[in-house]
């Protein structure tokens, strides 16, 4: 090693931009919880109560799953602001299939197929038309939203209360898995963990995953390296749509109904979770576990502010500030590293 490396004091390493960049989000959350604990004596007791932690887990799952979809698309250098509309549409489809056939085993593939199809349409128009994906998905957002409203006549599709539906709702929303030491984990949290592992494997251990990073890092050089940029982007949009449908499964199971506009707005929260986690908004750099951290930060923040009786409207203000601060911090650490 060189003298320069040796002369780096330990303290410097802990406060190094690289360290802050990797784990800054976690510290931000811990600092916040400590601050709340100082203001309200019993805060930590209430916050760390098993019930409350399970609540945070449940509330964070939808954000994490739509966040996974958005992460893949942002990593590939694109954006999809129609994801909330797609998820709403899939929720309606899932509810309609359950109501009409009584089978959730049929409803889930149907929902995922519709999500993947809508994602593929976004991808196809973006890639073949050479149009910025923001504009494409701004258009399809209106189309999908209108179609979901027309399909349901703007009404909520309520699932019947029967054993099959209860089984569905328990499996994807209410149920818990009991781990050793009596720790109870909500089923949706398990689903997020499975998706995280599977998708991380795809991103880090397959050629497709490497191509996603390459395409997002620079489409021109990826093309020169022989990567079929258009095909990679098309696949990413399709996968994103399918994941939005998975989020819709959890949403429908939790609420027991399908709402034509139910998940509108999740796309912006998902973008927030992705960038708060530290994934680069311009593509090519980031990961899925970061998105889980970003979603957790938003979930913990909302939960803690609610426990502290902070007005919901002010929570919006805090969220806005956190989004901007997280990205500023990220930009700062990257400049320091260069």
């Amino acid at each position: 090693m060189t003298a320069g490396a040796l002369s780096t004091p330990a303290r410097g390493r802990w406060l190094s931009p690289r360290f802050i960049g990797q784990f800054g989000v976690i510290f931000a959350v811990l600092l916040l919880l400590m601050a709340f604990a100082l203001v309200r004596e019993d805060f930590l007791q209430i916050f760390f109560a098993p019930n409350n932690l399970a609540n945070i887990g449940r509330q964070t799952t939808l954000l994490a799953i739509t966040g996974f979809a958005m992460t893949l698309i942002i990593l590939a250098g694109e954006i999809d602001i129609s994801l909330g509309a797609i998820a709403s549409m899939c929720g309606v489809i899932i509810a309609l299939v359950i109501v009409n056939t009584g089978s959730w085993l049929l409803a889930i593939p149907a929902g995922i197929a519709v999500g993947a199809l809508l994602g593929a349409i976004n991808g196809l128009i973006t890639v073949r038309g050479g149009i910025p994906s923001f504009i494409v998905t701004l258009g399809t957002l209106n189309v999908v939203q209108g179609a979901a409203l027309a399909l349901t006549n703007a009404s909520t599709i309520t699932l019947p209360a029967n054993p099959t539906v209860n089984e569905f709702r328990s499996l994807f929303a209410r149920g818990v898995v009991t781990l050793p030491f009596g720790i109870q984990v909500p089923n949706p949290v398990i689903l997020v963990a499975i998706l995280l592992i599977a998708l991380t494997f795809i991103l880090t251990r397959t050629r497709f995953g490497a191509n996603v990073y390459a395409v997002g890092g620079g489409a021109a050089s990826a093309r020169l390296a022989g990567i079929a940029v258009g095909r990679v982007k098309l696949l990413v949009f399709t996968l994103g749509g399918a994941l939005a449908a998975v989020a819709a499964v959890v949403y429908t199971a939790r609420l027991g109904n399908g709402q034509p506009l139910g998940m509108i707005g999740y796309e912006l929260d998902a973008i927030a979770a992705v960038v708060i986690g530290g994934t680069s908004f311009t593509g090519g750099r980031g990961s899925l576990w970061r998105t889980v951290l970003g979603a957790l930060l938003i979930g913990v923040l909302n939960n803690a502010l609610t426990l502290m009786n902070v007005n919901f409207n002010l929570q919006l203000v805090v969220r806005g500030a956190v989004i901007v601060l997280a990205v500023m911090l990220d930009a700062w650490t990257r400049r320091r590293l260069q």
């Binding site: 128009i125 910025p132 923001f134 209106n142 409203l149 409207n313 901007v324 990205v327 930009a331 400049r335």
Partner: protein, 319 residues
């Protein structure tokens, strides 16, 4: 400089004809399809409905031309309209209310600009933060209750007056267009907006203060958005923390429908006027024909995608 600008304008005329043609075709279609479309009271109504979109789309045009984006427009219109209504209610002074509207717009725009440029945060993210924060502040200070506008002079000045039989808000929009068009095409600032959005690096090398221009664009857009809020509350008769949701998306759609490049550097305010008219006539005409609101969404979305595809295709053909 002047010759180059005017020859560039001459070159861009053919591609503008496409959008203008679509506007005229739509106008003729609705005139024939609905007996209620082509009459003075509906046209006045159409004008009034379209003014808010037009003014915010002017602001968005500057931002997009400079290579940035602003997702906070709807929330900010809502927040500023509350500032204006409170100033009007508590002071009774129209001048002070207008000053506060435009001034807070400049302030919020500058905050967006400084965070984006100095903090090096993509404007999409900066304004996503402002989108959330401004709406939260608007809801918190009003406790989610609308503030009525009871000042008759204010309502007359910004909504009810009809000089020469034309709705006064339409006249404001036309004057604003003229001023902004001059600013964009005939001043050094306007030229640098195009340069910065077309190629920031080349602009920097040719001596343009890229950061300064971008912050100025955000501040100017903020002022325009402040004016939109002033017109909005006169039209609605109240300031509500819930209004103008999705206004930013409609404004972006209008700008892009007009044919301004989403990636910056290419486009014009005239194009935005055409885009605004297209959306305005479409909304008004579909309502008159009693088309289901669900199908209105579908038609609007399909037109956005098709228009941009068509624009892309014709440009590709002409080289």
């Amino acid at each position: 400089m002047t010759t180059r600008t005017s020859s560039a304008q001459r070159l861009s005329i053919p591609s503008e004809i496409g959008v203008l043609g679509a506007v005229i075709a739509l106008f003729i279609f609705f005139s024939l399809a609905s007996p209620f479309f082509f009459n003075p009271s509906n046209l006045t109504n159409l004008g009034r409905q379209t003014v808010l979109l037009a003014v915010t789309a002017f602001a968005m045009t500057f931002i997009i031309l400079s290579g940035e984006i602003d997702l906070s427009v709807g929330s900010v219109v809502s927040l500023i309209s509350i500032f204006v209504a409170m100033a009007l209610r508590d002071s009774g002074s129209i001048a002070l209310a207008v000053l506060i509207g435009v001034g807070s717009g400049v302030l919020i725009g500058t905050i967006n600009g400084v965070i984006t440029v100095i903090g090096r945060v993509p404007s999409f993210i900066t304004t996503l933060g402002m989108f959330s924060a401004a709406r939260g502040i608007a809801l918190a200070i009003t406790n989610a209750v609308a503030i009525p506008i009871l000042n008759d002079d204010y309502l007359f000045l910004f909504q009810d007056a009809r000089p020469l039989g034309i709705a006064v808000s339409v006249i404001y929009a036309v004057v604003l267009f003229a001023v902004l068009h001059f600013l964009l095409t005939r001043t050094r600032f306007g030229i640098s907006v195009y340069a910065v959005g077309g190629n920031a690096k080349a602009a920097r090398l040719s001596g343009i203060g890229v950061r300064r221009v971008k912050i100025e664009v955000f501040a100017l857009a903020g002022a325009i958005i402040g004016f939109a809020a002033i017109l909005q509350i006169a039209r609605l008769g109240s300031a509500s923390p819930e209004v103008a949701r999705n206004l930013e998306l409609d404004a972006i759609a209008a700008v892009v429908l007009g044919g301004t490049s989403f990636t910056g550097g290419r486009g014009s305010l005239i194009r935005t006027v055409f885009g605004v008219l297209l959306i305005g006539i479409l909304n008004n005409g579909m309502n008159l024909m009693n088309i289901d609101s669900y199908f209105q969404f579908i038609i609007k979305g399909a037109i956005i995608v098709l228009a941009v595809l068509l624009d892309r295709w014709t440009r590709g053909r002409s080289g």
